[in-house]
Amino acid sequence: MTPALIAALAEARAAARPVVLATSLPDGRQCLLPDPAADAALNAAAAAVLDADRAETRAIGGASWFLAPQNPPLRLIVVGAVHIAQALVPFAAATGFAVTIVDPRNAFATDARFPDTTLIGDWPDEAMRALAPDGRSAVVTLTHDPKLDDPALDHALRSQAFYIGALGSRKTHAARLRRLAELGHDAAALARIRGPVGLDIGAVSAPEIALSIIAELVAARRGAALGRLDGKQAA
């Protein structure tokens, strides 16, 4: 390992460019992939580990290669610079999400309330068009205000976002689904929205609700079957 290689990894991360650090075992020879000069089988294996987003050791051309993928960070787009959003930011950062907060209401979306977080003061439809959520993006709406939440959810449903969540009671959510259906979303599309958002952990306070949302996000990202790790039924 060299400082130059670490700098190259940091540069790729800053440019949101997916790369793989390949290490030949056990001699420790290293390179970054993809690289047109590298072996085709090595480049193909690199593409596979980036896709799976999981490091692994592979036998390629009679040699053993450890391939460590570095994908651009997952994104969490939060609509509503509300109290729960403030609680959500530190959990999201710690679990590897780059957070963007969207809220056109100047009183809420302030740097004082959200230090070190990307804030967008545009209306959600405009902001979502610019942010263009992809398959490594999650969208959570927290405003309770249909004027703000609905356009964001409408955009999210037309994207490949891997997680879409909307804060609000069951009654609020049912009304929301009727409005989104009028915008042309069918039942299968609407089923993508997790509403009320979050896992049922009995959350009451803002940090507890943030934790239930993050737990559900992690489960969606990892494709987890939810349940107790000890396999027992909840009492």
């Binding site: 670490i6 490091a55 692994e56």
Partner: protein, 108 residues
């Protein structure tokens, strides 16, 4: 911008190296069974005793740090195997019953 914890370790290692420390990096390259940290997990170690990150739940970090010091001194990388330990034996291993391979290299 947030960082995956495993990536952050390399930045810390580079920072220590730039400050004149002798540094080794340990990386989990393969796991079997219920090992606590996935492949790609990293730990950085300095000759002066600084440590960041982890390669297990704390079971093998001491042995990996010892190997790291040897690699810092020799410059030769090592591929270490840690298997199941007998609960009542004192040898280094994983009480969880998992197995891991850890690659240790010097940061030049």
């Amino acid at each position: 911008m947030s960082l995956e914890p495993s990536e952050d370790i390399l930045s810390i290692a580079a920072h220590w190296r730039a400050a004149g420390e002798d540094v080794a990096i340990a990386t989990v390259t393969e796991t079997w069974g219920s090992s606590p940290r996935p492949a790609g997990s990293r730990m950085a170690v300095t000759a002066s005793g600084k440590l960041a990150g982890s390669v297990s739940g704390g079971c093998i970090e001491g042995a990996v740090a010892d190997a790291a010091l040897a690699t810092i001194a020799s410059g030769t990388p090592q591929l270490l195997d840690f298997g199941v330990t007998n609960e009542r034996a004192w040898e280094v291993g994983l009480a969880c019953g998992g197995k891991v391979k850890v690659f240790v290299e010097r940061l030049s």
